[in-house]
């Protein structure tokens, strides 16, 4: 008897798995976009240390 690589469960769960994958990709996209915006706006810059003068 041939070994079934794809279980019937895999077919049933396919839609859900694709949905979870898309959600994760979307979440990563939001985090990346937020990071770009915050860096461009200078939100992550460290406060400048004042050099001691004379």
């Amino acid at each position: 008897m041939a070994i079934k690589v794809e279980h019937e469960l895999h077919h049933r769960r396919k839609g859900r798995n694709v949905g979870v994958a898309l959600l994760l990709v979307g979440f990563i996209g939001i985090v990346v976009a937020l990071t770009f915006v915050k860096v461009a706006q200078g939100d992550f810059e460290l406060p400048r240390v004042e050099e001691a003068s004379s």
Binding site: I30, A33, L34, F36, V37, Q41
Partner: protein, 282 residues
């Protein structure tokens, strides 16, 4: 939607990516608190006709799954809102979720007829959170939007309780209709509506108001007050005779009422870049 209005109605603006992320995480936080509410209230949701088809009573979601989703998404939404907007907005979102799930659902809902009055605060926070996302502080306009929803909530749910009477009786939820009677509920609806009318029309004079808002507020509040007056005048015999026609009409109008008030605030904000909106251009 109200969070979006709070965010866009604020005098300072966020980068579109930050604004989108903020609204998304506020919405996720609201969904999380809904999941926690449905986990805790699954027993009474099952006996109320209005809520019996919710995911847990209908068997589509297990209670443990709802709890995990609620807790997980609460944490995610609060942390991400803190990163996308600011710490104060994240703290307000965390408090809102706590208020809805613990103070309202677990404590007030089954213990006092003031459940919907105090619990209404949970639904009133989103525009304030939106405002805080943009400005980083809580202004008077944010409090006004909060108050608009806070005072709108009791008459909205009391009208529902009048014509869904058996639902709340069966579930043993101490709504005002059950504990203090239906006459008292009708009086309360009128009193809260009068307070709401004053607040809603007065908001037109603030920086989030303007001619569009004032026009919408005058029309909507006149209609709302008329229906509240009719509810107050009626007794149970009249209401049962026509199948709670006026109470149902008031409830439907209340949905439109809130939607259009916030829509008008949004319209005022959208007109400002064109030199219109608010009172400044007149």
């Amino acid at each position: 939607m109200t969070a979006l209005v709070g965010l866009l109605g604020a005098p300072t603006s966020l980068h579109p990516v930050e604004a989108f992320a903020s609204i998304l995480f506020i919405a996720i936080g609201a969904g999380a608190s809904g999941a926690l509410n449905m986990w805790w209230d699954a027993d009474i949701d099952a006996v109320m006709r209005r809520t019996s088809s919710r995911p847990i009573p209908s068997g589509r979601v297990q209670p443990g799954e709802a709890l995990a989703i609620g807790v997980g998404l609460s944490g995610l939404s609060v942390i991400m809102l803190g990163l996308a907007a600011n710490i104060l907005a994240a703290a307000l979102l965390a408090f809102t979720i706590f208020f809805y799930a613990v103070i309202y659902s677990m404590w007030l809902k089954r213990s006092t007829p003031q459940n919907i009055v105090i619990g209404g605060a949970a639904g009133a926070f989103p525009p304030m959170i939106g405002w805080v996302c943009a400005t980083g502080s809580i202004g008077i306009e944010a409090w006004l939007m909060f108050a608009l929803i806070f005072i709108w909530t009791p008459p909205h749910f009391w009208a529902l309780a009048l014509f869904m009477r058996k639902d709340y009786d069966n579930a043993g939820v101490p709504m005002l209709t059950v504990t203090h009677g239906r006459r008292t509920t009708r009086v309360h609806i009128l009193v809260y509506t009068v307070l709401l009318v004053i607040l809603a029309v007065a908001t037109a004079a603030t920086s989030i108001g303007g001619p569009v808002y004032l026009t919408a507020a005058v029309v909507l509040n006149a209609l709302f007050l008329k229906d509240a007056w009719r509810i107050w005048q009626r007794d149970e015999t009249d209401a049962e005779a026509d199948g709670y026609k006026v109470e149902k009409s008031f409830f439907k109008l209340s949905l439109l009422y809130l939607f259009l008030h916030f829509g008008a605030i949004l319209a005022e904000a959208a007109l400002k870049p064109f030199g219109l909106g608010g009172w400044g251009w007149l």
